[in-house]
Protein backbone atom coordinates (compact mmCIF):
# COMPACT_ATOMS: atom_id res chain seq x y z
CA UNK A 1 0.00 0.00 0.00
CA UNK A 2 1.46 3.38 -1.01
CA UNK A 3 1.48 6.60 0.95
CA UNK A 4 -1.54 8.85 0.29
CA UNK A 5 0.76 11.89 0.31
CA UNK A 6 3.88 12.48 -1.75
CA UNK A 7 5.88 14.01 1.14
CA UNK A 8 4.36 12.27 4.18
CA UNK A 9 5.75 8.77 4.62
CA UNK A 10 2.81 7.24 6.56
CA UNK A 11 1.00 4.58 4.50
CA UNK A 12 -2.73 3.97 4.93
CA UNK A 13 -1.74 0.75 6.68
CA UNK A 14 0.52 2.69 9.09
CA UNK A 15 -2.34 5.02 9.94
CA UNK A 16 -4.79 2.11 10.43
CA UNK A 17 -2.25 0.30 12.69
CA UNK A 18 -1.69 3.37 14.83
CA UNK A 19 -5.40 4.05 15.20
CA UNK A 20 -6.01 0.41 16.15
CA UNK A 21 -3.16 0.56 18.63
CA UNK A 22 -4.58 3.53 20.52
CA UNK A 23 -8.11 2.15 20.20
CA UNK A 24 -9.92 4.66 18.01
CA UNK A 25 -11.70 3.78 14.79
CA UNK A 26 -10.83 6.79 12.62
CA UNK A 27 -8.91 10.07 12.46
CA UNK A 28 -12.21 11.89 13.07
CA UNK A 29 -12.60 9.84 16.22
CA UNK A 30 -9.12 10.87 17.34
CA UNK A 31 -10.13 14.52 17.19
CA UNK A 32 -13.57 14.05 18.69
CA UNK A 33 -12.59 16.03 21.80
CA UNK A 34 -12.44 19.14 19.65
CA UNK A 35 -15.97 20.63 19.44
CA UNK A 36 -17.46 20.16 15.91
CA UNK A 37 -17.79 23.91 15.31
CA UNK A 38 -14.01 24.31 15.51
CA UNK A 39 -13.25 21.44 13.16
CA UNK A 40 -12.56 21.81 9.47
CA UNK A 41 -15.14 19.92 7.46
CA UNK A 42 -13.85 20.60 3.95
CA UNK A 43 -10.31 20.43 2.50
CA UNK A 44 -8.12 23.53 2.88
CA UNK A 45 -8.28 25.78 -0.13
CA UNK A 46 -4.81 24.97 -1.45
CA UNK A 47 -3.51 24.36 -4.96
CA UNK A 48 -3.02 20.78 -6.06
CA UNK A 49 0.13 19.11 -4.69
CA UNK A 50 3.06 19.17 -7.10
CA UNK A 51 5.20 16.30 -8.25
CA UNK A 52 8.84 16.45 -7.24
CA UNK A 53 10.09 17.75 -10.64
CA UNK A 54 7.30 20.35 -10.66
CA UNK A 55 8.12 21.40 -7.11
CA UNK A 56 11.81 21.66 -7.89
CA UNK A 57 11.06 23.88 -10.90
CA UNK A 58 8.70 26.04 -8.85
CA UNK A 59 11.23 26.55 -6.05
CA UNK A 60 13.90 27.47 -8.60
CA UNK A 61 11.51 29.99 -10.14
CA UNK A 62 10.89 31.61 -6.74
CA UNK A 63 14.58 31.49 -5.78
CA UNK A 64 15.52 33.24 -9.03
CA UNK A 65 13.56 36.30 -7.84
CA UNK A 66 15.99 36.72 -4.94
CA UNK A 67 19.16 38.70 -5.34
CA UNK A 68 22.31 37.26 -3.85
CA UNK A 69 25.68 38.70 -3.07
CA UNK A 70 27.40 36.85 -5.93
CA UNK A 71 25.23 38.73 -8.45
CA UNK A 72 25.40 42.13 -6.80
CA UNK A 73 28.17 44.18 -5.28
CA UNK A 74 26.99 44.84 -1.75
CA UNK A 75 28.00 47.61 0.62
CA UNK A 76 25.65 46.57 3.38
CA UNK A 77 26.94 46.12 6.91
CA UNK A 78 25.34 47.37 10.08
CA UNK A 79 26.06 44.18 12.02
CA UNK A 80 26.40 41.49 9.35
CA UNK A 81 29.36 41.46 7.00
CA UNK A 82 30.10 39.65 3.78
CA UNK A 83 33.47 37.95 4.06
CA UNK A 84 35.10 35.35 1.90
CA UNK A 85 34.36 31.88 3.26
CA UNK A 86 36.94 29.32 2.09
CA UNK A 87 35.24 26.25 0.57
CA UNK A 88 36.89 24.05 3.20
CA UNK A 89 34.46 25.53 5.75
CA UNK A 90 31.36 24.27 3.96
CA UNK A 91 33.04 20.96 3.15
CA UNK A 92 33.90 20.27 6.80
CA UNK A 93 30.59 21.63 8.07
CA UNK A 94 28.42 19.29 6.00
CA UNK A 95 30.22 16.12 7.07
CA UNK A 96 27.68 13.74 8.59
CA UNK A 97 29.52 13.60 11.92
CA UNK A 98 29.05 17.34 12.42
CA UNK A 99 25.96 18.25 10.47
CA UNK A 100 23.45 19.21 13.10
CA UNK A 101 22.43 22.71 14.00
CA UNK A 102 21.72 21.84 17.57
CA UNK A 103 23.52 21.56 20.86
CA UNK A 104 24.06 17.92 21.88
CA UNK A 105 21.55 16.83 24.52
CA UNK A 106 23.20 13.50 25.23
CA UNK A 107 26.25 15.65 25.42
CA UNK A 108 28.97 13.27 26.57
CA UNK A 109 28.07 10.70 23.89
CA UNK A 110 28.98 13.30 21.26
CA UNK A 111 32.67 13.63 22.05
CA UNK A 112 33.53 15.00 18.59
CA UNK A 113 30.91 17.76 18.85
CA UNK A 114 32.04 18.61 22.38
CA UNK A 115 35.66 18.78 21.27
CA UNK A 116 34.70 21.12 18.40
CA UNK A 117 32.83 23.37 20.86
CA UNK A 118 35.81 23.26 23.24
CA UNK A 119 38.09 24.36 20.38
CA UNK A 120 35.61 27.12 19.53
CA UNK A 121 35.57 28.37 23.14
CA UNK A 122 39.38 28.30 23.21
CA UNK A 123 39.61 30.34 19.99
CA UNK A 124 37.11 32.92 21.25
CA UNK A 125 39.20 33.26 24.43
CA UNK A 126 42.38 33.74 22.37
CA UNK A 127 40.66 36.25 20.12
CA UNK A 128 39.16 38.33 22.95
CA UNK A 129 41.91 37.67 25.56
CA UNK A 130 39.20 36.69 28.03
CA UNK A 131 39.43 33.74 30.44
CA UNK A 132 36.38 31.73 29.53
CA UNK A 133 33.89 31.62 26.64
CA UNK A 134 30.59 29.78 26.40
CA UNK A 135 29.46 27.43 23.62
CA UNK A 136 27.70 30.42 21.93
CA UNK A 137 24.34 32.19 22.07
CA UNK A 138 21.80 32.93 19.32
CA UNK A 139 23.23 36.23 18.12
CA UNK A 140 24.87 39.44 19.28
CA UNK A 141 21.49 40.92 20.29
CA UNK A 142 20.63 38.15 22.73
CA UNK A 143 24.26 38.16 23.90
CA UNK A 144 23.91 41.86 24.81
CA UNK A 145 20.70 41.12 26.70
CA UNK A 146 22.27 38.15 28.51
CA UNK A 147 25.26 40.32 29.45
CA UNK A 148 22.91 42.89 30.97
CA UNK A 149 21.02 40.26 32.97
CA UNK A 150 24.28 38.62 34.08
CA UNK A 151 25.70 41.99 35.15
CA UNK A 152 22.62 42.74 37.24
CA UNK A 153 22.96 39.34 38.92
CA UNK A 154 26.67 39.75 39.57
CA UNK A 155 26.51 43.30 40.95
CA UNK A 156 23.09 43.09 42.57
CA UNK A 157 22.24 46.32 40.78
CA UNK A 158 19.25 46.81 38.53
CA UNK A 159 20.22 49.42 35.98
CA UNK A 160 22.23 49.08 32.80
CA UNK A 161 23.81 51.95 30.90
CA UNK A 162 24.12 51.57 27.17
CA UNK A 163 25.68 53.72 24.49
CA UNK A 164 23.24 54.96 21.88
CA UNK A 165 25.90 54.13 19.30
CA UNK A 166 25.46 50.38 19.74
CA UNK A 167 23.44 48.56 17.11
CA UNK A 168 19.74 49.60 17.46
CA UNK A 169 18.69 45.95 16.93
CA UNK A 170 20.72 44.91 19.97
CA UNK A 171 19.08 47.64 22.03
CA UNK A 172 15.65 46.37 20.97
CA UNK A 173 16.48 42.84 22.13
CA UNK A 174 17.89 44.28 25.35
CA UNK A 175 14.61 46.14 25.98
CA UNK A 176 12.65 42.93 25.41
CA UNK A 177 14.71 41.06 28.02
CA UNK A 178 14.94 43.93 30.49
CA UNK A 179 11.31 44.97 30.70
CA UNK A 180 9.78 41.91 32.43
CA UNK A 181 12.76 41.70 34.79
CA UNK A 182 12.33 45.33 35.84
CA UNK A 183 15.80 46.26 34.65
CA UNK A 184 16.16 49.97 33.95
CA UNK A 185 17.96 50.94 30.75
CA UNK A 186 19.71 54.30 30.55
CA UNK A 187 21.00 55.36 27.14
CA UNK A 188 23.94 57.77 26.79
CA UNK A 189 24.34 59.70 23.57
CA UNK A 190 27.26 59.69 21.18
CA UNK A 191 29.35 62.74 20.36
CA UNK A 192 27.82 64.35 17.26
CA UNK A 193 31.22 65.32 15.86
CA UNK A 194 33.27 62.15 16.33
CA UNK A 195 30.42 59.62 16.34
CA UNK A 196 32.05 58.00 19.37
CA UNK A 197 30.85 57.63 22.95
CA UNK A 198 32.98 60.12 24.87
CA UNK A 199 34.12 58.80 28.27
CA UNK A 200 33.64 62.24 29.84
CA UNK A 201 29.99 62.25 28.70
CA UNK A 202 29.13 59.49 31.12
CA UNK A 203 28.57 61.04 34.54
CA UNK A 204 30.02 59.08 37.44
CA UNK A 205 26.79 59.21 39.42
CA UNK A 206 25.02 57.57 36.49
CA UNK A 207 27.37 54.58 36.68
CA UNK A 208 27.58 54.47 40.49
CA UNK A 209 24.43 52.38 40.80
CA UNK A 210 24.66 50.74 37.38
CA UNK A 211 25.31 47.05 36.87
CA UNK A 212 27.19 47.60 33.64
CA UNK A 213 28.06 49.92 30.80
CA UNK A 214 27.59 48.39 27.34
CA UNK A 215 29.68 49.86 24.53
CA UNK A 216 30.25 48.60 21.00
CA UNK A 217 33.51 49.08 19.11
CA UNK A 218 33.59 49.63 16.23
CA UNK A 219 30.19 51.10 17.02
CA UNK A 220 27.11 51.09 14.79
CA UNK A 221 28.54 54.01 12.78
CA UNK A 222 31.80 52.09 12.29
CA UNK A 223 33.68 54.35 14.72
CA UNK A 224 36.35 52.84 16.97
CA UNK A 225 35.56 53.76 20.57
CA UNK A 226 38.12 54.66 23.25
CA UNK A 227 37.44 51.40 25.06
CA UNK A 228 40.32 51.71 27.54
CA UNK A 229 39.06 55.07 28.86
CA UNK A 230 35.42 53.91 28.90
CA UNK A 231 36.39 50.73 30.75
CA UNK A 232 38.35 52.70 33.33
CA UNK A 233 35.46 55.13 33.89
CA UNK A 234 33.09 52.19 34.34
CA UNK A 235 35.31 50.43 36.86
CA UNK A 236 35.63 53.58 38.96
CA UNK A 237 31.94 53.02 39.74
CA UNK A 238 32.42 49.29 40.34
CA UNK A 239 30.12 48.59 37.40
CA UNK A 240 31.00 45.95 34.83
CA UNK A 241 32.30 46.89 31.40
CA UNK A 242 30.63 45.02 28.53
CA UNK A 243 32.50 45.21 25.22
CA UNK A 244 30.56 44.43 22.03
CA UNK A 245 33.12 43.77 19.30
CA UNK A 246 33.40 42.68 15.68
CA UNK A 247 35.59 39.56 15.79
CA UNK A 248 37.30 40.37 12.48
CA UNK A 249 38.32 43.78 13.85
CA UNK A 250 40.27 41.98 16.59
CA UNK A 251 42.82 41.12 13.89
CA UNK A 252 44.07 44.69 14.30
CA UNK A 253 42.26 46.30 17.26
CA UNK A 254 43.03 45.78 20.96
CA UNK A 255 41.18 42.77 22.41
CA UNK A 256 38.62 43.35 25.20
CA UNK A 257 40.78 41.53 27.75
CA UNK A 258 43.54 44.10 27.25
CA UNK A 259 41.35 46.96 28.45
CA UNK A 260 39.80 45.08 31.33
CA UNK A 261 36.39 44.20 29.87
CA UNK A 262 34.36 42.03 32.24
CA UNK A 263 32.26 40.63 29.41
CA UNK A 264 33.22 40.51 25.73
CA UNK A 265 30.64 39.54 23.14
CA UNK A 266 29.65 40.10 19.57
CA UNK A 267 28.23 38.82 16.34
CA UNK A 268 30.24 35.81 15.19
CA UNK A 269 28.67 35.71 11.69
CA UNK A 270 31.71 37.37 10.05
CA UNK A 271 33.73 34.29 11.05
CA UNK A 272 33.00 31.84 8.25
CA UNK A 273 29.21 32.24 8.20
CA UNK A 274 27.28 33.67 5.22
CA UNK A 275 24.98 36.70 5.57
CA UNK A 276 22.06 34.52 4.40
CA UNK A 277 19.30 37.13 4.45
CA UNK A 278 20.07 37.82 8.10
CA UNK A 279 20.61 34.48 9.77
CA UNK A 280 21.22 32.09 11.40
CA UNK A 281 23.66 34.07 13.47
CA UNK A 282 26.21 33.35 16.18
CA UNK A 283 26.47 35.20 19.48
CA UNK A 284 29.89 34.75 21.01
CA UNK A 285 30.23 35.48 24.70
CA UNK A 286 33.29 35.50 26.98
CA UNK A 287 34.02 36.65 30.51
CA UNK A 288 36.59 36.53 33.31
CA UNK A 289 37.31 33.60 35.66
CA UNK A 290 35.90 35.75 38.43
CA UNK A 291 32.50 35.92 36.74
CA UNK A 292 32.38 32.53 35.03
CA UNK A 293 29.82 31.10 37.43
CA UNK A 294 27.43 33.88 36.42
CA UNK A 295 27.90 33.25 32.70
CA UNK A 296 24.87 32.09 30.70
CA UNK A 297 24.95 29.20 28.28
CA UNK A 298 26.53 25.81 27.82
CA UNK A 299 30.17 25.37 28.65
CA UNK A 300 32.37 22.49 27.53
CA UNK A 301 35.38 21.50 29.61
CA UNK A 302 38.27 19.17 28.94
CA UNK A 303 38.96 16.43 31.46
CA UNK A 304 40.10 12.81 31.57
CA UNK A 305 38.36 9.58 32.40
CA UNK A 306 39.32 7.04 35.08
CA UNK A 307 41.90 5.57 32.72
CA UNK A 308 43.53 8.92 32.11
CA UNK A 309 42.16 9.36 28.59
CA UNK A 310 41.23 12.84 27.40
CA UNK A 311 37.53 13.54 27.24
CA UNK A 312 35.06 16.43 27.05
CA UNK A 313 32.09 17.17 29.30
CA UNK A 314 29.56 19.90 29.90
CA UNK A 315 30.85 21.68 32.97
CA UNK A 316 29.78 24.25 35.59
CA UNK A 317 26.22 23.16 34.96
CA UNK A 318 25.12 24.28 38.40
CA UNK A 319 24.74 27.75 36.78
CA UNK A 320 22.14 26.42 34.41
CA UNK A 321 18.39 26.39 34.52
CA UNK A 322 17.90 22.63 34.88
CA UNK A 323 19.82 22.74 38.16
CA UNK A 324 19.43 26.25 39.56
CA UNK A 325 15.74 26.38 38.67
CA UNK A 326 14.24 29.81 39.24
CA UNK A 327 17.54 31.19 40.61
CA UNK A 328 19.32 30.61 37.29
CA UNK A 329 20.35 33.89 35.70
CA UNK A 330 19.57 32.63 32.19
CA UNK A 331 17.26 30.18 30.48
CA UNK A 332 19.64 29.53 27.58
CA UNK A 333 20.18 25.78 27.29
CA UNK A 334 21.11 25.68 23.62
CA UNK A 335 23.82 27.02 21.37
CA UNK A 336 24.45 27.74 17.70
CA UNK A 337 26.52 24.61 17.23
CA UNK A 338 26.80 24.63 13.45
CA UNK A 339 27.56 28.34 13.15
CA UNK A 340 30.10 28.02 15.97
CA UNK A 341 31.71 25.13 14.10
CA UNK A 342 31.92 27.26 10.95
CA UNK A 343 33.63 29.97 13.01
CA UNK A 344 36.06 27.41 14.43
CA UNK A 345 37.01 26.06 11.02
CA UNK A 346 37.31 29.58 9.63
CA UNK A 347 39.58 30.73 12.47
CA UNK A 348 41.73 27.60 12.22
CA UNK A 349 42.19 28.28 8.49
CA UNK A 350 42.97 31.96 8.95
CA UNK A 351 45.22 31.76 11.97
CA UNK A 352 46.32 34.97 13.69
CA UNK A 353 48.21 36.29 10.64
CA UNK A 354 45.34 35.51 8.26
CA UNK A 355 42.82 37.24 10.47
CA UNK A 356 45.09 40.26 10.67
CA UNK A 357 45.34 40.29 6.88
CA UNK A 358 41.55 40.18 6.49
CA UNK A 359 41.16 43.02 9.01
CA UNK A 360 43.79 45.09 7.20
CA UNK A 361 42.16 44.54 3.81
CA UNK A 362 38.78 45.62 5.23
CA UNK A 363 40.35 48.75 6.68
CA UNK A 364 42.17 49.62 3.45
CA UNK A 365 39.09 49.09 1.29
CA UNK A 366 36.79 51.09 3.56
CA UNK A 367 39.32 53.90 3.87
CA UNK A 368 39.96 53.93 0.10
CA UNK A 369 36.23 54.26 -0.51
CA UNK A 370 35.90 56.94 2.16
CA UNK A 371 38.74 59.01 0.74
CA UNK A 372 37.40 58.81 -2.81
CA UNK A 373 33.89 59.81 -1.72
CA UNK A 374 35.45 62.73 0.15
CA UNK A 375 36.57 64.13 -3.21
CA UNK A 376 32.98 64.34 -4.50
CA UNK A 377 31.71 67.74 -3.31
CA UNK A 378 28.07 66.65 -2.88
CA UNK A 379 28.89 64.17 -0.13
CA UNK A 380 29.96 64.77 3.45
CA UNK A 381 30.68 62.67 6.49
CA UNK A 382 28.68 63.24 9.69
CA UNK A 383 31.52 61.91 11.89
CA UNK A 384 35.29 62.34 12.02
CA UNK A 385 36.22 59.56 14.49
CA UNK A 386 38.54 56.71 13.44
CA UNK A 387 36.75 53.86 11.66
CA UNK A 388 37.37 50.24 10.70
CA UNK A 389 35.35 48.70 7.83
CA UNK A 390 32.31 50.97 7.78
CA UNK A 391 31.38 54.66 7.83
CA UNK A 392 28.38 56.97 7.51
CA UNK A 393 27.90 59.30 4.52
CA UNK A 394 25.43 62.12 3.97
CA UNK A 395 24.42 63.03 0.44
CA UNK A 396 22.02 65.49 -1.12
CA UNK A 397 19.82 63.00 -2.91
CA UNK A 398 17.34 60.97 -0.81
CA UNK A 399 19.10 57.68 0.08
CA UNK A 400 16.18 55.48 -1.08
CA UNK A 401 16.25 57.02 -4.53
CA UNK A 402 20.05 56.72 -4.83
CA UNK A 403 19.96 53.10 -3.74
CA UNK A 404 17.24 52.31 -6.24
CA UNK A 405 19.36 53.75 -9.04
CA UNK A 406 22.43 51.86 -7.82
CA UNK A 407 20.50 48.61 -7.70
CA UNK A 408 19.69 48.99 -11.39
CA UNK A 409 23.47 48.98 -11.93
CA UNK A 410 24.02 45.84 -9.86
CA UNK A 411 25.12 47.64 -6.70
CA UNK A 412 23.48 47.32 -3.29
CA UNK A 413 24.03 50.71 -1.70
CA UNK A 414 24.63 51.74 1.88
CA UNK A 415 22.24 50.91 4.69
CA UNK A 416 19.72 53.64 5.49
CA UNK A 417 19.90 54.61 9.17
CA UNK A 418 17.48 57.52 9.38
CA UNK A 419 14.69 55.41 10.90
CA UNK A 420 16.88 54.56 13.90
CA UNK A 421 18.62 57.94 14.13
CA UNK A 422 16.26 60.68 12.91
CA UNK A 423 18.97 63.29 13.47
CA UNK A 424 21.07 61.57 10.78
CA UNK A 425 18.64 62.32 7.96
CA UNK A 426 20.03 61.58 4.51
CA UNK A 427 22.77 59.38 5.99
CA UNK A 428 23.68 55.89 4.86
CA UNK A 429 26.15 53.40 6.30
CA UNK A 430 28.72 51.93 3.90
CA UNK A 431 30.73 48.82 4.67
CA UNK A 432 33.59 47.54 2.53
CA UNK A 433 35.16 44.23 3.45
CA UNK A 434 38.03 42.31 1.85
CA UNK A 435 35.54 40.90 -0.69
CA UNK A 436 35.36 44.23 -2.54
CA UNK A 437 37.87 44.65 -5.36
CA UNK A 438 39.52 47.91 -6.34
CA UNK A 439 37.60 47.74 -9.62
CA UNK A 440 34.25 47.39 -7.82
CA UNK A 441 35.10 50.30 -5.53
CA UNK A 442 36.06 52.49 -8.49
CA UNK A 443 32.83 51.56 -10.29
CA UNK A 444 30.83 52.56 -7.21
CA UNK A 445 32.66 55.89 -6.95
CA UNK A 446 31.88 56.70 -10.61
CA UNK A 447 28.22 55.89 -10.00
CA UNK A 448 28.14 58.02 -6.85
CA UNK A 449 29.55 60.95 -8.82
CA UNK A 450 26.71 60.63 -11.32
CA UNK A 451 24.09 60.17 -8.60
CA UNK A 452 25.32 62.96 -6.37
Amino acid sequence: MGSPHRYIPNTDQNVADMLADIGVSSIDDLFSVIPPEFRLTEPLSLPKALSEPELSAELNRVAAKCAHSMQYTSYLGGGLYEHFVPSVVRHMLTRGEFYTAYTPYQAEVSQGTLQAIFEYQTMICELTEMDVANASLYDAGTAVAEAAVMSCGATRRNKVVVSRAINPRYRQVLRTYAHPRGIEIVTVDYDTQSGATPPESVPKDLLDDAACFIVQSPNYFGIVEDMAALSEATHRSRALFVAVVNPISLGILAPPGSYGADIALGEGQPLGNPISFGGPLLGFFATTSKLMRKMPGRLVGQTHDDQGRRGYVLTLQAREQHIRRESATSNICSNEALCALAATIYLSLMGPSGLRKVAELCTWNAHYLHDKIAKIPEYEFPFDGPFFNEFAVRGRRPPAERNRRLLERGIIGGKMIEADYPELSGCTLWAATETRTRQELDTLIRELEVLA
Binding site: R293, A318, R319, I323, S327
Partner: protein, 127 residues
Protein backbone atom coordinates in the same frame (compact mmCIF):
# COMPACT_ATOMS: atom_id res chain seq x y z
CA UNK B 1 26.69 22.48 68.85
CA UNK B 2 26.56 25.60 70.94
CA UNK B 3 23.38 26.31 72.78
CA UNK B 4 23.53 29.95 71.66
CA UNK B 5 23.09 28.89 68.04
CA UNK B 6 19.87 29.63 66.20
CA UNK B 7 18.56 27.80 63.14
CA UNK B 8 16.37 28.54 60.13
CA UNK B 9 13.93 26.28 58.34
CA UNK B 10 16.26 26.54 55.30
CA UNK B 11 18.97 24.87 57.41
CA UNK B 12 21.24 27.81 58.05
CA UNK B 13 22.75 28.36 61.49
CA UNK B 14 23.65 31.65 63.11
CA UNK B 15 25.65 32.35 66.23
CA UNK B 16 25.77 35.79 67.80
CA UNK B 17 28.82 37.23 69.57
CA UNK B 18 28.34 40.85 70.59
CA UNK B 19 26.74 42.37 67.52
CA UNK B 20 28.50 40.04 65.06
CA UNK B 21 26.65 37.00 63.75
CA UNK B 22 28.53 34.08 62.21
CA UNK B 23 26.47 32.22 59.61
CA UNK B 24 26.81 28.80 58.03
CA UNK B 25 24.79 25.80 56.89
CA UNK B 26 23.88 22.92 59.19
CA UNK B 27 25.30 19.38 59.09
CA UNK B 28 21.98 18.22 57.74
CA UNK B 29 22.16 20.73 54.83
CA UNK B 30 25.78 19.82 54.08
CA UNK B 31 24.91 16.13 53.94
CA UNK B 32 21.91 16.73 51.71
CA UNK B 33 23.95 18.86 49.31
CA UNK B 34 26.79 16.38 48.86
CA UNK B 35 30.37 17.37 48.07
CA UNK B 36 30.47 21.15 47.90
CA UNK B 37 32.77 22.28 45.09
CA UNK B 38 32.21 26.02 45.20
CA UNK B 39 30.78 28.61 47.51
CA UNK B 40 29.80 31.94 46.03
CA UNK B 41 30.45 34.49 48.75
CA UNK B 42 29.15 38.04 49.07
CA UNK B 43 31.56 40.98 49.35
CA UNK B 44 32.50 42.60 52.63
CA UNK B 45 30.27 45.66 52.98
CA UNK B 46 27.28 44.10 51.20
CA UNK B 47 24.06 44.52 53.11
CA UNK B 48 21.28 41.98 53.42
CA UNK B 49 17.81 41.89 54.90
CA UNK B 50 16.63 38.80 56.73
CA UNK B 51 15.73 36.16 54.11
CA UNK B 52 17.79 37.73 51.29
CA UNK B 53 19.92 35.49 49.13
CA UNK B 54 23.29 35.68 50.90
CA UNK B 55 25.47 33.08 49.21
CA UNK B 56 25.29 30.00 46.98
CA UNK B 57 26.72 26.58 47.80
CA UNK B 58 27.34 24.53 44.69
CA UNK B 59 27.87 20.78 44.67
CA UNK B 60 28.49 18.58 41.63
CA UNK B 61 24.78 18.17 40.92
CA UNK B 62 23.06 21.00 42.72
CA UNK B 63 23.29 24.62 43.70
CA UNK B 64 21.63 25.79 46.88
CA UNK B 65 20.86 29.35 47.86
CA UNK B 66 21.90 30.33 51.35
CA UNK B 67 19.54 32.89 52.84
CA UNK B 68 20.44 35.49 55.43
CA UNK B 69 19.02 34.25 58.77
CA UNK B 70 19.29 37.82 60.04
CA UNK B 71 19.76 41.21 58.39
CA UNK B 72 23.00 43.20 58.50
CA UNK B 73 26.27 44.18 56.82
CA UNK B 74 28.93 41.64 55.88
CA UNK B 75 32.09 42.21 57.95
CA UNK B 76 34.02 39.10 57.00
CA UNK B 77 33.71 36.18 54.58
CA UNK B 78 35.36 32.78 54.97
CA UNK B 79 38.10 33.15 52.32
CA UNK B 80 39.34 29.64 53.11
CA UNK B 81 36.31 28.32 51.21
CA UNK B 82 37.73 29.67 47.95
CA UNK B 83 40.49 27.05 47.96
CA UNK B 84 38.80 24.51 50.18
CA UNK B 85 35.03 24.51 49.64
CA UNK B 86 34.98 20.99 51.14
CA UNK B 87 35.28 22.61 54.58
CA UNK B 88 31.52 23.06 54.37
CA UNK B 89 31.17 19.25 54.38
CA UNK B 90 33.97 18.49 56.83
CA UNK B 91 33.11 21.02 59.50
CA UNK B 92 29.88 22.84 58.57
CA UNK B 93 29.29 24.24 62.06
CA UNK B 94 32.92 25.28 62.60
CA UNK B 95 35.65 25.94 60.02
CA UNK B 96 33.05 25.69 57.28
CA UNK B 97 31.31 28.91 58.34
CA UNK B 98 30.29 31.19 55.46
CA UNK B 99 30.07 34.84 56.51
CA UNK B 100 30.06 37.17 59.51
CA UNK B 101 27.65 40.07 59.54
CA UNK B 102 27.14 43.10 61.72
CA UNK B 103 23.56 42.64 62.78
CA UNK B 104 20.97 45.40 62.25
CA UNK B 105 18.31 44.13 64.61
CA UNK B 106 19.14 41.43 67.15
CA UNK B 107 15.44 40.79 67.82
CA UNK B 108 15.21 39.13 64.39
CA UNK B 109 16.89 36.16 66.05
CA UNK B 110 13.67 35.57 67.98
CA UNK B 111 12.08 34.35 64.73
CA UNK B 112 14.57 31.47 64.54
CA UNK B 113 14.68 28.04 66.19
CA UNK B 114 16.94 27.06 69.05
CA UNK B 115 18.81 23.78 68.97
CA UNK B 116 16.03 21.75 70.52
CA UNK B 117 13.39 23.18 68.18
CA UNK B 118 15.61 22.57 65.17
CA UNK B 119 16.19 18.89 66.14
CA UNK B 120 12.44 18.56 66.41
CA UNK B 121 12.00 20.28 63.02
CA UNK B 122 14.46 17.85 61.39
CA UNK B 123 12.53 14.89 62.77
CA UNK B 124 9.29 16.29 61.40
CA UNK B 125 10.89 16.95 58.02
CA UNK B 126 12.10 13.36 57.83
CA UNK B 127 8.60 12.02 58.25
Amino acid sequence: MSSKMRFTSDHEWVELEGNIATIGITEHAAEELGDVIYVELPAVGDTFAQGDNLAVAESVKAAADIFAPIGGTVTEVNDALEDEPGLVNEDPMGNGWIVRIDVDDVTELDDLMDEEEYEEYLKEEEQ
